[in-house]
């Protein structure tokens, strides 16, 4: 099927097979390597490594048919920093020490971005809820929560 969608602000046009996932297309055809997978073929465990934003909402790209992207807008980590300027979340992940092995980082940042874009603020409960769909084996989550809190404060989100 012919698909047209926006990837990180640029128009993309390609052919996808019905059985292909959005993940397959992003990684294998479009070279978007920040989108990771825990390789849980046939059983998704909500590890969140494959998270991308579809029209701003976080989804798992391994479980989303590629054709669903048609006419829509996809954001991956590659789309966050513009012109060498880091997104506040990226800066906060660096500063707060929220990155260890880094495998979960892209998915975590995108889940957090959707939260902040949706008006989410620095309260811990909201932040924890925002990353419930993402797994991290290294950090114990504490500094990830802290990073999102800092970014929320930097962006002034969550205030009435």
């Amino acid at each position: 099927m012919k698909l047209r969608f926006t990837l990180n602000g640029s128009a993309v046009e390609l052919d996808a097979e019905p059985w292909e996932s959005l993940f397959d297309v992003l990684r294998n055809r479009l070279g978007i390597k920040s989108v990771k997978t825990a390789l849980c073929e046939g059983s998704c465990s909500a590890c969140g490594a494959c998270t991308v934003l579809l029209d701003g909402r976080p989804i798992y790209s391994v479980m989303t048919p590629a054709y669903r992207a048609d006419g829509r807008s996809i954001t991956t980590l590659e789309g966050l920093s513009r012109g060498g300027e880091l997104h506040p979340l990226q800066s906060a992940f660096i500063e707060a020490g929220a990155v260890q092995c880094g495998f979960c980082t892209p998915g975590m940042i995108l889940a957090a971005k959707a939260y902040l874009d949706g008006g989410g603020g620095p309260d811990e409960g909201g932040i924890r809820e925002a990353i419930r769909g993402n797994l991290c084996r290294c950090t114990g989550y504490v500094k990830i929560i802290e990073a999102i809190r800092r970014a929320a404060e930097a962006l002034g989100g969550g205030k009435p």
């Binding site: 660096i94 092995c101 990353i131």
Partner: protein, 764 residues
């Protein structure tokens, strides 16, 4: 030289909060893991494994698979000559004659894509004669049990980690109270984000190149070459970014050898990468433990004797997990001051998974047993568990019966701080259905000499432009060794941190030897190597500057990149200018600044009685857990953890806290969540859907505390801390559950159903 001379100085970067060295590329999504690596013409490998936990292999017919379109090569044990792997060389990379576990490798396919390779596996016809499996290590020792390795005539593995110091019998006689219990720990999967695999190819020079997420590149090089029967200098090991490892990648496994063999045969790049279900089914596991613990104390609360009998199920082949027993030895003999100790081990072959070391390498298992028993003993003595621990705590400048020389030790401070911060007011006083539990640990903090060399090499180069490149043999798997190295080198040289680039991972042949990232040794051992190389480079710069500036070298210092005289403020120059002058000008000295160092920690390989000072220093800590238990369902909610550590001087606070928080999370997994369930040696919950990893919903408030003083041997006083935080979580939670409800769970994980059953028994 020790770094203690530097103590008390004002530091420029040591101890400051800095970003992790590679964080930027990771938040940009630019870090490349094994998952991301591809090469032109690359083939994909898949492995056919046994359908039975125990069977004779009657025949293997791969001819149909070999003829399938897209299949480039198929190998079985008949096609390639490979040497056995493992400490006991009991593990053929490809099996013949018989299979001993469901993970046994029978054949492998290299094909143009993974789907074709998988399909080809189905076309391989294997005839088996099933044999009765033995999957219970105790039953495996009974006469008449099926034999896993028949030629040995027994399932008992010829490895004995037993030891005895002091007159144990007499000491138990002297004890007023003796408490005995049997404790069990479960099969656990390391499950980093990255799965296991390798990408191998042979280059035009005939060198076998391997991309691997190994934690021990130099041992990998040697063992891979040995198994392939080629000289190790023909092997080049390259490490990409590694998405966690936790001990899983300390060995060379059959799939590594198979991937390399396929690349050598096909002369094409071959990649093998486990899917998650392959990972959970086939990756080595944490070593499970059955331990009977008996401890005796006098009425006034002095520990006088400890005896531990351990059974270790090796699975079908002896992996590094079995050597967890060597870490257990030090805890049995050294956690708390106890004069008479005995440790007996029985290592058993079964048809179960074989094991690997996993973060703490046996210490979390044995500490669960010992620290649970400590609480039971305190209760029997009628003593407060905190007082009991303080009374018996390890102290500085003491020697354990096994010969561990404890120098710095802040265990008493850790206990007091944990008790204070958790709000301890004595037993059963945490509120309704709530409980508080404590557990301490004793772990290596200055390397661990389990191999003949425990060293690490480092090279520091200062280029003509003032760029400082430090290369270390150590491996970055997410723990932050890169950052520690950067801080140490910047501090030692006196240059701004951003001038220091750290060469870690990548091509191991361009780095100096290191035994591997394990045993919490990276910052201590590799850090000491980098420190020495950096101080040497600094000396070279000062000597060069001495000639240029006309001041004696001992009068010179480097501060924030500026070389200056301590006594004559008019004499000074930027360090990069000094380096250029040394190279090009000033009488054409023609000198460049490069230094290397190999640091071998001052520790001892244990002798035949297992006696010896295995580490240059030791780490200590105490953890307190506050839990709430739902008495109707048995569900445990961890409300708060206080995690107090003696890690010497904390040189990288973000890294220290991250290791502690991540370690506590992993400990919560071990305590409450994680377990690979086996049926006849086969994992039945082999997906992330059924295997419970700690998620954000499992994480309590974690209070991280540093109670250490600078260690005289550590780089800038640091001790290792990566594993410590995992160790005491299980027993602290078990002790907290007992404090809350009066039920003692002696086998991990502490599931709600176990608590519910124990409560039901209590009611009866």
């Amino acid at each position: 030289m020790t770094s203690v001379e530097l103590v008390g100085r004002e530091f420029s970067v040591i101890g400051s909060r800095v970003p992790k060295y590679d964080a930027l590329e990771k938040v940009l999504g630019e870090a490349r893991y094994l998952l991301d690596l591809e090469m032109p013409g690359m083939l994909h490998a898949k492995i056919l494994r046994s359908s039975h936990p125990h069977a004779r292999l009657l025949s293997i017919d791969a001819s149909k698979a070999a003829r399938m379109p897209g299949v480039v090569d198929v190998i079985t044990a008949r096609d390639v000559r490979l040497n056995n792997l493992g400490y006991l060389k009991d593990n053929p990379p490809l099996k013949w004659g018989k299979v001993r576990s469901v993970r046994d490798e029978i054949a492998a396919v290299a094909a143009v894509d993974p789907e074709t390779a998988s399909e080809a596996l189905h076309a391989i016809d294997v005839k088996y004669e099933p044999l009765p499996p033995v999957t219970d290590p105790v039953a495996a020792l009974e006469p008449g049990a099926p034999l896993v390795h028949e030629e040995l005539g027994t399932n008992r593995v010829n490895l004995d980690f037993g030891l005895s110091y002091g007159d144990v019998e007499a000491a138990f006689q002297r004890a007023d109270v003796v408490v005995e219990g049997t404790y069990r720990t479960q099969y656990v999967a390391h499950t980093p984000g990255d799965t296991m695999g390798a990408l191998a190819w042979v280059d035009a020079q005939g060198i076998l190149n391997v991309y691997t997420n190994t934690q021990a590149p130099f041992l990998y090089q040697r063992w891979l070459a040995e198994s392939l029967g080629i000289p190790a200098h023909r092997v080049r090991v390259i490490q990409p970014h590694i998405g966690g490892a936790f001990g899983r990648n300390l060995d060379v496994y059959p799939h590594d050898v198979i991937t390399a063999a396929l690349a050598m045969r096909t002369r094409r790049p071959v990649k093998l990468l486990f899917t998650r279900s392959e990972e959970l089914q086939n990756a080595p596991t944490k070593q499970p433990l059955i331990a009977r613990v008996r401890q005796g104390a006098t009425r006034d609360g002095r520990l006088v004797a400890r005896e531990v009998d351990a059974i270790l199920d090796a699975g079908a082949y002896v992996g590094w997990g079995v050597f967890d027993a060597r870490v257990m030895q030090y805890t049995v003999t050294g956690l708390y001051s106890v004069p008479a100790v005995r440790f007996r081990t029985t290592v058993v072959y079964t048809n179960n998974p074989s094991t690997a070391a996993m973060r703490s390498a046996g210490n979390s298992q044995i500490t669960f047993a010992v620290e649970s028993n400590m609480d039971e003993l305190a209760e029997r003595l009628g003593m407060d568990p905190v007082e009991f621990r303080l009374l018996n705590a390890n102290r500085p400048n003491t020697v354990t019966p096994q010969g561990a020389r404890i120098t710095t030790c802040a265990m008493p401070e850790a206990i007091r701080e944990a008790a204070r911060r958790i709000g301890w007011r004595g037993r059963h006083s945490a509120g309704p259905h709530r409980g508080i539990g404590f557990a301490c640990y004793f772990h290596v903090g200055g390397g661990a000499r389990i191999y003949r060399s425990d060293g690490c090499g480092a090279i520091v180069k200062v280029d003509d432009f003032g760029g400082v490149i430090v290369s270390v043999g150590g491996t970055e798997i997410g723990e932050g060794l890169d950052t520690s190295i950067q801080l140490i080198v910047a501090e030692a040289l006196g240059v701004p941190r951003d001038r220091v680039r750290v060469q870690i991972n990548g091509d191991a042949s361009m780095r100096l030897w290191d035994v591997g990232t394990h045993a919490s040794r990276g910052t201590f051992v590799c850090g000491n190597a980098a420190l020495r190389a950096a101080l040497d480079a600094r000396r070279q710069i000062l000597e060069g500057a001495s000639k240029i500036l006309g001041a004696p070298p001992e009068d010179l210092e480097v501060v924030d990149g500026f070389v200056r005289s301590r006594t004559d403020p008019s004499k000074g120059m930027e360090y990069d200018k000094v380096v250029r002058r040394m190279h090009f000008f000033s009488g054409a000295q023609g000198r460049i600044v490069v230094a290397s160092s190999f640091y071998e920690p001052p520790s001892e390989e244990p002798d035949e009685r297992w006696h010896g000072n295995v580490s240059a220093t030791y780490g200590f800590g105490c953890q307190a857990a506050l839990v709430e238990v739902d008495p109707e369902t048995g569900r445990v909610k961890v409300l708060r953890i206080v995690s107090a550590h003696d890690a010497g001087r904390v040189i990288n606070p973000n890294g220290f806290e991250g290791q502690v928080q991540g370690g506590v999370a992993m400990g919560i997994g071990l305590a409450l969540l994680e377990e690979l369930h086996l049926s006849e040696g086969r994992v039945v919950n082999g997906s992330f859907e059924d295997y419970r990893l700690p998620r954000v919903t499992d994480i309590p408030e974690i209070d991280v505390v540093s109670v250490g003083e600078p260690d005289p041997e550590g780089p800038y006083g640091a001790k290792g801390v990566a594993e410590g935080p995992v160790i005491p979580v299980g027993p602290a939670i078990a002790n907290a559950v007992a404090d809350a409800l009066g039920v003692r769970i002696r086998d991990l994980p502490i599931t709600p159903e176990k608590i519910w059953r124990a409560l039901a028994l209590n009611v009866q």
